[in-house]
């Protein structure tokens, strides 16, 4: 069966520090991968999605970036965090036409 992992589970970072969140999927190949942000426990905003290695599409302008160095690995990064980057970050995967399956999420607090 397929599983999706995210780490860390929680993170507290100062403003201006770098960020790296990691997501990995097991049990499937060539998945579509997605990064979402959820603010205040409501509503999901799609940040990035990827249909293959090195292929990243950005949905909203921001100081975040994403990379997909391996087929089942998706990384969310920032060079300098802002207070507004606080939130709950969710990674998801899907087959091309299938439903999306979500990871457990990372709670990021920027102070």
């Amino acid at each position: 069966s397929q599983t999706i992992h995210q780490w860390p589970a929680t993170l507290v970072q100062p403003v201006g520090s770098p960020l790296s969140l990691e997501c990995t999927v097991e049990g499937t190949s060539n998945p579509n991968l997605y990064w979402y942000r959820q603010a205040a426990g409501r509503g999901l905003q799609l940040l990035f999605y990827s249909v293959g290695i090195g292929q990243i599409s950005s949905e909203v302008p921001q100081n975040l970036s994403a990379s997909r160095p391996q087929d089942r690995q998706f990384i969310l990064s920032s060079k300098k965090l802002l207070l507004s980057d606080s939130g709950f970050y969710l990674c998801a995967w899907s087959k091309v036409r299938g439903e999306q399956f979500f990871g457990p999420g990372t709670r990021l607090t920027v102070l």
């Binding site: 509503g43 999901l44 999605y49 899907s94 036409r97 439903e99 999306q100 399956f101 979500f102 999420g105």
Partner: protein
């Protein structure tokens, strides 16, 4: 653009009573609709989907959803709610690029 709306921020029901969480959609072409549930500080869990076929879709944990084309609705239902159903529920629609657009969510509280 594809979109969904969840008109209720909160729904409160007593355990054992029917539960309905509302969702309406706006799409061009055929709708592909989904329901997810989220427990506090957890990721979203897939409940069910409508692609084509029967208007009544059965999903996980005893949930079902009714697709109504004339009313452009896709309401989530459970005949008898449990306290453990207390969570946030999200409706979503898939666009032609296979991305999902989510509603704002409905927080369900089931009281014992």
């Amino acid at each position: 653009a594809q979109s969904v709306a969840q008109p209720e921020d909160q729904v409160n029901v007593a355990e054992g009573n029917p539960l309905t969480v509302k969702c309406t959609y706006s799409v061009s072409g055929n709708p592909y609709l989904f329901w997810y549930v989220q427990y506090p500080n957890r990721g979203l869990q897939f409940l069910l989907k409508y692609i084509t076929g029967d208007n009544l879709v059965k999903g996980s944990y005893g949930f079902e959803a009714e697709f109504n084309k004339s009313q452009t609705s896709f309401h989530l239902k459970k005949p008898s709610a449990l306290v453990s159903d207390s969570a946030s529920y999200f409706c979503a629609v898939r666009d032609p690029d296979y991305k999902l657009s989510f509603g704002a969510g409905t927080t369900v509280t089931v009281r014992a």
